[in-house]
Symmetry: C2
């Protein structure tokens, strides 16, 4: 994603890229509500892509962030599977 889009994402800036992410999350919601599996798959891909773009321009390593927080156990109850009572 960085190689593909970084030059454009940098120009757009954090706020503009975040707004795109929000729009894609909305489209994912519509596809899921409509029960359109094919569309939902594409929207999942778009959300991941925009999230990766946003992480790139804020210089955060998305994969590392996820692994740091969710490394095989729930960060709240520390069990796997999670046993939180929420």
């Amino acid at each position: 994603m960085k190689r593909l889009y970084f030059h454009r994402d940098s120009e757009r800036g954090t706020k503009g890229t975040y707004d795109w992410l929000v729009e894609e999350v909305g489209e994912l919601g519509e596809a899921l509500e409509a029960g359109d599996r094919r569309a939902a798959e594409k929207e999942f891909a778009d959300v991941i892509a925009w999230l990766a773009s946003l992480a790139n321009i804020t210089e955060i390593d998305l994969e590392k962030a996820a692994i740091n927080k969710y490394n095989g156990k729930c960060p709240k109850c520390e069990h796997s599977p999670c046993q939180c009572s929420f």
Copy 2:
């Protein structure tokens, strides 16, 4: 994520899990706007986690969906880096 949370995510259902995702995206936006890097990292992790949960309960393979659409080139212009004029 599936091993950790699938039992809870299934009970919550697609709509409930989607609503959580939207909330986490909102929190990410707040952390970015505040320029709080540490909080932003955690919120990125949460968004990824909820996106993965949502993909699990809708039985969509998130990684496969992303690779199918963005396999090393832009799906619109088919160049890498992207050369779209948007």
